[in-house]
């Protein structure tokens, strides 16, 4: 475990530094005014200096047959023009065609399980996580103060139905879908820039330059525009030729409704959302993905087949993906995921760390390997304690906001025992913190308040003034009220951890109640501010890119409770942030208004520092890895990367390059 983490950390750190420098340098040496070509797709570079793909490009046997049969144009016509083909560097080796990826999913509700691995964003995160690189886009140029982005697309790239993909698809998406909110999402923050002075938001302007180029103009600097697009919006385009046939704007309300009904939908909104946002599970809709839906996602087995027009090749010019199909079989019970993996029913799957031992124990027998990716959690999910800083009860709120109280709770529990029992010894007994090697890492953070010291804890609690003891020797407030922490949980999985926490906290004289409710109820309770404490954990790749967990911008993460509602409602509702929480918001505004990535990194770091200082989230174990189980004959699965939603989880490993070795 450990060794792996260090090695990996090293790599990442390296990556950061490099990217840091470059970005630094960029901003300096540049004749202001005329935009200079700054970064072109590493892909196309490699494309240039590899023995020209396209000619002699090879394709999957099934496709070759179709070509022979004349039902499919030859490969050369399907791929983008040579220079624009995206060539993926080899991971382990050049692959072989054929085979299925057999994965379990819980049904169409589980869209992202097939969505993330097949996702093709305009810009995607580099494997080292240091920043984004062109993907669907070929390259981009940006001006000095990051207000004007010119993005080049790949010429000759085609939708999975063979229709060419051009800038029009981007503009269409922007004009007729995003801005019209046809799929139940507001225009993403990424497309707004903020006035450093007033902080008011300005929507970007996006215009077509030519068929393969478009321009994004921000009113104010938006240094992280591309990264934020990659996270907020991921893709940035839609098949205009298809959408025109279903969008009310084009076919008219009642016709659209009629179509929706034909698809089995009741109303246009859900239809719009399904076709405009969750499009990849509908076989009717063309995409740019390596695999495209082939049957009804509601059937017991959902199948995605290779996209004959996929626009990436390997170094030898073999069209990707290697694997013919993704076969997602519906499962209902978690144990089936494990059992199915052991028995090889599923040759690719991913798990949380709690199944580590059973998976490892059966590695040989099941002829698969368990690949461990680092997660961006601050602590394993359900092995940390978030205290709602704005909890209803004034007395408890007072305590929760008292840093000494949090420290007491932190040192009051034996992390050694917790990691042994709860994480089965996989984790280290450390504080909730940013793992080494990730953005926001702080020295000494993971050891802050980490050693078990009940005496100290009691002393702190006494200092706070909780000296009064009630029946069963529980601490009381001066007013005679018991000090009680109520945990509201949405699953029983966190049971063991909370049992231990209860034991330790009550040993300190602090009563603990645990209540389990269903997810929806918990969701409701969040808004009603009825969740005093939760064992939810935090995860964030980079606060500046996705602040939800660390910055109270809305009702989402338990620790900041109603502070979020305050910012969200522009001060109408919720609780006004004070002290360090207010500072965090301050820094956040600074980040949004920053002109350079340095600035951003600086403020981001400040936010992390505040979190380190306050430890609103008390962690009791180091994050556990995400586990990917792949049959031994599935190759090209990267050995260690960061498993993060921002990086699209498994998608970060470029499944298009996976292949089944015979």
């Amino acid at each position: 475990m450990k060794s792996f983490r260090f090695l990996f950390a090293a790599i990442l750190v390296l990556a950061m530094i490099i990217s840091g420098c470059t970005s630094g340098s960029e901003t300096k040496d540049k004749p202001s005014g005329s935009p200079a070509v700054k970064e072109t797709a590493p892909a196309s570079q490699t494309a240039a200096n590899t023995n020209a793909p396209g000619d002699g490009a090879k394709e999957a046997p099934i496709l070759a047959e179709q070509v022979k049969a004349g039902t499919l144009p030859p490969l050369a016509e399907r791929l983008p023009k040579q220079a624009d083909i995206m060539v993926e560097p080899t991971v382990e080796e050049i692959g072989q065609y054929g085979g299925d990826l057999r994965i379990p999913w819980t049904g169409s509700g589980d869209k992202w399980k097939v969505g993330q691995p097949t996702e093709e964003a305009l810009f995607r995160f580099k494997k080292d996580g240091s920043g984004v690189e062109p993907n669907v886009a070929k390259s981009y140029e940006v001006n000095a103060d990051s207000t004007e982005f010119i993005i080049h697309l790949r010429e000759g790239i085609k939708w999975s139905d063979g229709v060419p993909f051009t800038a029009d698809d981007v503009i269409f998406y922007w004009e007729h879908m995003l801005k019209k909110e046809t799929f139940g999402k507001k225009v993403y923050d990424a497309y707004y820039s903020i006035d450093p002075a007033t902080g008011e938001k300005a929507l970007a302007e996006i215009t077509k330059v030519d068929d393969y180029t478009f321009k994004v103009v921000h009113k104010y600097p938006s240094v992280q525009f591309l990264e934020r697009v990659a996270i907020d919006n991921k893709w940035f385009f839609a098949p205009a030729h298809f959408q025109k046939t279903i969008l009310p704007e084009f076919v008219g309300e009642e016709k659209a409704l009629e179509i929706a009904k034909k698809w089995g939908f009741e109303d246009l909104k859900s239809f719009g959302q399904a076709t405009g946002y969750y499009y990849w599970i509908y076989p009717q809709i063309p995409t740019l993905r390596p695999w495209v839906a082939k049957n009804d996602p509601e059937s017991d087995q959902f199948i995605m087949e290779r996209n004959p027009y996929y626009w990436k090749t390997d170094l030898e010019g073999n069209q990707l993906p290697y694997i013919d199909r993704i076969v997602a079989t519906k499962v209902q019970d978690p144990s089936q995921q494990v059992l199915g993996t052991l028995s090889g029913d599923f040759n690719l799957n991913w798990f949380g760390a709690k199944d580590f031992t059973v998976l490892k124990e059966n590695e040989k027998k099941g002829d698969y390997r368990v690949i461990q990716w680092l997660t961006t959690d601050w602590a394993p999910n359900g092995v940390s304690v978030q205290l709602n800083q704005t909890t209803e009860d004034p007395d408890m709120r007072g305590l929760f906001q008292d840093i000494r109280f949090r420290q007491a709770l932190s040192v009051g529990a034996d992390r050694g025992e917790i990691v042994e029992i709860v994480t089965n010894g996989i984790s280290d007994p450390v504080q909730a913190s940013v793992a080494e090697g990730l953005i926001g890492y702080q020295d000494g953070w993971k050891d802050q308040w980490a050693e078990y010291d009940p005496a100290k804890a009691n002393q702190l609690l006494d200092e706070i003034g909780l000296t009064k003891r009630g029946k069963d020797n529980f601490r009381q407030f001066a007013n005679g009220k018991d000090v009680v922490i109520d945990f509201i949980e949405s699953s029983t999985d966190t049971g063991p951890f909370l049992e231990l926490i209860k034991k330790y906290y009550e040993a300190l004289g602090i009563k603990v109640n645990v209540k389990v409710v269903d997810k929806a109820t918990q969701d409701e309770m969040k808004y009603a501010n009825q969740i005093p404490a939760s064992s939810e954990s935090l995860a964030a790749v980079n606060v500046s890119l996705r602040p939800d967990a660390l910055v109270p911008l809305r009702v989402l993460t338990p620790w900041y409770g109603m502070y979020g509602l305050y910012t969200q409602s522009g001060g109408k509702e919720g609780v006004k942030p004070e002290g360090d929480v207010a500072k965090i918001l301050e820094y956040w505004d600074k980040i949004k208004a920053s002109k350079t990535s340095d600035e951003i990194n600086k403020w981001a770091n400040e936010i992390y520092k505040l979190h380190m200082k306050n430890q609103w989230v008390i962690g009791y174990a180091s994050p556990t890895p995400a586990l990917i189980t792949a049959s031994n004959n599935i190759r090209n699965v990267p050995d260690y990367l960061v498993w993060a939603d921002e990086f699209r989880s498994l998608g970060h490993g470029h499944p298009a390059q996976f292949f089944i070795k015979s």
Partner: protein, 396 residues
């Protein structure tokens, strides 16, 4: 009136329960009959007599007796408490209690070896080895964690155990290093008490309402039937979800579970009620019932004395069959956070915990609780059988 049921006229009402030709019983009855004239009590007497003859039933009774004894003195019998987590002994396999040590020496006092544990660095699985160097003798009445004996006075004496720092895991430990044996014993306190309350309630309700419905018939019957239909088509899951949200966190799970069992019972009586009703329908115009009616016996009396005995056997079977369902009932609740939740423990919880593939494949001893459930259920049912056969009016 009794004559109509009476096989051979003479001897009053006594011999009616015995088919002619079964002289043994009959003669006994002839004797006992001299003393009492109330047919009813004599029937119970008979049932009792016959029950004593049912070997398996007697054994089952003893088994149940033991189980309940264990439940009552659980804290005393269990070597460890429910909160005795121990990170050193996570998922430890059952220990063998030995008399002969490594070098073949026999010890009169049983003992267990100490456990050496290590983690497999690859799979992180805890591997345990008993090391023959350290031997811990099994002792009676050892001092260990304190508890309240029968909730009365504090003590720290446990029936048996090994001296510190030794540990005794007869059935191994669970994923939190708790002794499974102790958990089973302590779990029986809930599993052997609360479910029976539920069964009892639905049993009474079933007979009462079903009886009334079937006996009086008419609009009352059809009204009750409609009610039953409505109750039966009650969607419980959302009900539970609502409940789990409504209950304040301060309510301890066990209390909560108790209420839930009662609610379950309030819903669950319908099946029995229907059968009872059906039976009453057919029995209520038996001559002897009519006779009783004519001779002005009160309805309640008729129901209790003439109708119920008529299918006592069925009721017994039905009830004993209902028990396992109730014991396991809570397991289906727990995912809504309503069932019993560790550290509070019941057999249902233990089975729930055992459910993971991980346990079935790596730590099979976690299935031991299943054994205890099966034993209990069998005991209940065989005892029910005994009662049934005893209650059978035409018993050989």
């Amino acid at each position: 009136m009794a004559r109509s049921k009476n096989p051979n006229g003479i001897q009053g009402n006594v011999t009616m329960k015995i088919i002619p030709g079964l002289r043994k019983n009959r003669v006994q009855d002839v004797r006992s009959a001299a003393k009492q004239d109330v047919e009813y009590s004599s029937q119970w007497k008979l049932i009792y007599k016959r029950f004593k003859k049912h070997k398996l039933a007697r054994i089952s009774m003893i088994v149940l007796g033991l189980l309940y004894f264990g439940a009552i003195f659980a804290q005393f019998i269990a070597p460890y408490s429910l909160e005795s987590y121990d990170s050193k002994y996570v998922n430890a396999p059952p220990m063998t209690i030995r008399f002969v040590d490594a070098d073949g020496k026999f010890h009169i006092q049983p003992f267990v070896y100490g456990l050496k544990s290590a983690r497999d660095p690859e799979t992180m699985r805890k591997i345990f080895q008993s090391d023959p160097e350290v031997r811990y003798k099994l002792q009676l009445f050892v001092k260990a964690e304190p508890y309240k004996f029968l909730g009365l006075f504090k003590t720290d004496i446990h029936l048996f155990g090994v001296e510190q720092p030794g540990r005794l895991f007869m059935f191994g430990t669970d994923s939190m290093g708790r002794d499974l044996f102790s958990r089973i014993i302590l779990g029986s306190q809930i599993s052997l008490s609360i479910p029976l309350v539920g069964v009892g309630i639905s049993f009474v309700l079933g007979i009462l309402i079903g009886g009334v419905s079937g006996y009086f018939g008419g609009w009352l019957d059809s009204f009750i039937q409609r009610i039953i239909e409505i109750i039966r088509s009650f969607p419980t899951i959302p009900l539970w979800m609502a409940l789990s949200a409504a209950i304040p966190p301060r309510i301890p799970v066990v209390t909560m579970y108790f209420y839930i069992v009662i609610i379950l019972a309030l819903i669950g009586w319908t099946d029995l009620a229907r059968v009872v009703r059906g039976k009453f329908f057919s029995l209520k115009n038996e001559d002897y019932v009519l006779a009783a009616k004519i001779s002005g016996v009160s309805d309640s009396k008729i129901i209790v004395r003439h109708l119920l005995p008529g299918f006592l056997s069925y009721l017994i079977v039905a009830t004993t069959l209902a028990i396992p369902a109730m014991i396991l009932g809570e397991t289906t609740m727990s995912f809504l956070g309503l069932g019993i939740r560790s550290p509070a423990t019941s057999w249902g919880v233990l089975l729930q915990e055992a459910q993971k593939i991980e346990n079935v494949s790596l730590y099979p001893w976690k299935l031991i609780p299943l054994g205890s459930v099966i034993v209990a259920v069998m005991a209940f049912n065989f005892m029910g059988d005994g009662l049934r056969d005893a209650a059978d009016p035409y018993k050989r």
